[in-house]
Symmetry: C2
């Protein structure tokens, strides 16, 4: 596949080359920074996002469990990008794109572009059971995290008020659907919350009675990891008091109960709180772009992109991050062409690459082909406990946990946030406390 | 008035003396801490609050303006009081009290008491114009602060999207109704936000066009202060770019506009955002208790209490904080008997006094009469600018500002919060930034 040149008609003398980036997550933000850093005179960049902040999603579960505040893991896009004078930010929603006329339709205006970078990410999915969502919220946005925090702490408060031991037990039961990294991290942190942080804070309800149940439909949790790391993770989770049910299919989720099937047996778990971490699908923008450009979608709804992340037939439209299906375009055999995973580190690399690519074309420079650096995956289980597959290294226990802390502080956006999070982690580590165990949004919608 | 003994029938051998405190604000929390610190063997204390946290209300406006996160100024009641083994906390709502049978009616249970401390505080009021509330939210709860933050930052985003200069001007106009300390602090901080923090963060809308209008019905703002401090405050506000309209009566508040009357002239201000800091009234619990106990209410709905904060005829029921009307019971002439003001420092002193009083009675010790220490008032206007009436001292400018910072850090609950707030203040001071400029709750309900 050849590196096509951006049509240079628009980049003519005096005229600005207009780039529009959709989405301020890892993909969009790193593309914007790379373009900003390239200092192209002719560049005029607009970043469009529905929200006014970049969210550091890998730490979202720490907001959900009351360890961090919302402000610690979110930074206003305007603050992050303020030093780039040729970048404008619009808090707006993309309603459509018109690849023929090269415009993006926002709520009140049409934004023309010469190059378009789509980094709209993904949303949670319930595999056709959207009716479960109110009973089992998922963890994708900052509001999701605050809602889960509200439900978790409200459940303990309800248990403290409850005099019927059966009902109290249900309030102290938390079911997490999905044994991927997010499910494991949530299960571990909730268990530590109940068994360590809140241990001596309640009078009527005994924290030892709290049950955290992690449900996974597959035969193993954390399926991307190697067997010894999975075994280690299960052991650590069980040490923390988490019950791990693998091969458990969720059949129904109703107020106060989760119906599952396991080893061919139907079972009903009475649980005051159910959380969903089982599925992610692409932003609906993917479908819309596919219809307009003829680009193919994979089964997960991701747009299949060229080796330079452009869409076939549209060298001026790029897709990066969770919305992109990027098969390794190297000399691998066909069967190894699994797409790059939906990770922050992947989105960062893709976004940065596309930003530099556009800048290089603008400057009429050659750009190298994309080379993916596998930075591996890390999942934290609890204090001093984590598992990591870092390419050549496999880490577990304290070393994995320590590397996890370091990486997350390093990549967290904003020096102020780094200090705030570091201080709170140190505080939480030594006091076993949590800073942000607040139930906001009153009166409570449920109960 | 004599110091009546708590009937000691309930405090007999082996039987617990049950104290119920309603409200975890300054009054209730300081009463609970004083009682806990007294280490009475016979004591069994239950603190009831609708929320699971104590809110440091004096810094609420800093959450509203994006300088601090919600978690920085709120601490979970269970964490604050965890060291007291004889204090239980119930997150529940008081639906009624029965002074004859000495019980408090909660949502699901009746709580018996031997002594009751009511510290339910106040709520905002619109003086019969409750229909204005959706258009002009007030600043009393954490959710109020987050809602105001959302509206303020959304207004700037809407201005950036807006192409019609008239409409853009309206989005950049903020009206604050009420020239008390909260109104002044909000006006000052919003002005600094627009003219300093956000100065270079927008491309289309010019921050110089932002108007902050402070409306006060009385002839002067900050009416409790002395004239020279008021003059200083007005000067500082104007220096920050705040327009101060005194003698301005609000006639109507509608979407996008505020109708006022000033010097007999009607005027309509087109404003995208209107905030209400004009009025506070007592919790509806005051009325309920008055009906049940025969205690008198003042015009503001506060319960008129005895010299020991008990209700007439009910030596076992105490009222402290914003819900109590406490006239100086000393040897002052009748006309000087203005009630103690609704300030955090007053509620703290009252709560602590009543806690110690109950403990002393339990131990059959004498307790001293209440002696109010006037700690004065301080209002911050902006960076390096504040006014303070501290009894003998009148402060203004940098010294008032510095004392204000010190006092607020000192009284902020929790060592961790002190560090977090101090760090963010230093950061904000030196970088002129704000940490928490997030628009949460999406999709936006208005616009």
């Amino acid at each position: 596949m050849s590196m096509q040149q951006v049509p240079d008609s628009a980049a003519g003398a005096g005229q600005k080359f207009r780039v529009v980036i959709v989405g301020g997550g890892f993909g969009g933000l790193y593309a914007a920074k790379a373009l900003g850093d390239a200092r192209c005179e002719a560049l005029e960049l607009t970043l469009v996002d529905k929200r006014n902040f970049h969210l550091f999603q890998p730490l979202l579960y720490q907001v959900a469990s009351g360890a961090l505040s919302a402000g610690d893991i979110a930074s206003p896009l305007r603050t992050i990008l303020r030093k780039y004078k040729n970048i404008s930010i619009l808090m707006d929603e993309v309603l459509g794109i018109d690849p023929q006329n090269k415009t993006v339709q926002l709520r009140d205006e049409q934004l023309p572009y010469d190059a378009l970078v789509i980094a709209a990410g993904g949303i949670h999915q319930y595999f056709g059971n959207d009716q479960w969502q109110p009973e089992a919220p998922s963890l994708k946005t900052l509001e999701d995290a605050l809602e889960i925090r509200r439900r978790v702490f409200s459940a303990f408060e309800a248990a403290e008020r409850e005099k019927d031991p059966i009902k109290r037990k249900a309030w102290q039961t938390f079911v997490i659907v999905g044994g991927g990294p997010t499910g494991v991290e949530l299960a571990g942190t909730l268990s530590e919350l109940a068994h360590v942080t809140l241990q001596d804070q309640f009078n009527r309800c005994r924290m030892e009675d709290t049950r955290i149940i992690l449900l996974e439909a597959a035969p193993k949790i954390l399926s991307v990891y190697s067997t010894d790391l999975i075994d280690h993770a299960v052991l650590q989770l069980e040490k923390l008091g988490v019950t791990v049910y693998t091969g458990a299919m969720v059949k129904d989720i109703r107020p106060g109960e989760v119906c599952i099937e396991r080893h061919g047996q139907a079972e009903v778990i009475e649980a005051g709180t159910t959380l969903w971490t089982a599925g992610v699908k692409s932003s609906p923008l993917g479908m819309m772009i596919s219809e307009k450009t003829g680009a193919s979608l994979d089964r997960g709804g991701r747009l299949i992109v060229n080796a330079d992340f452009s869409l076939p037939g549209h060298p001026e439209i790029f897709v990066v991050g969770d919305l992109a299906h990027y098969a390794h375009h190297s000399k691998q055999p066909e069967q190894d062409k699994t797409p790059l995973p939906g990770l922050a580190s992947v989105a960062m690399q893709e976004g940065r690459y596309v930003g530099r690519l556009i800048a290089a074309r603008l400057k009429n420079q050659r750009s190298e082909p994309f080379r993916y650096v596998d930075k591996g995956t890390l999942a934290i289980i609890g204090n001093n406990a984590a598992v990591g597959d870092l390419g050549a290294f496999r880490l577990k226990g304290f070393s994995a946990w320590f590397v996890w802390l370091f990486i997350h502080i390093f990549y967290l956006i904003g020096f102020e946030n780094k200090i705030l999070v570091l201080f709170q982690w140190l505080w939480n580590y030594f006091t076993r406390g949590r800073s942000a165990c607040l139930i906001t949004r009153y009166p409570e919608p449920r109960q």
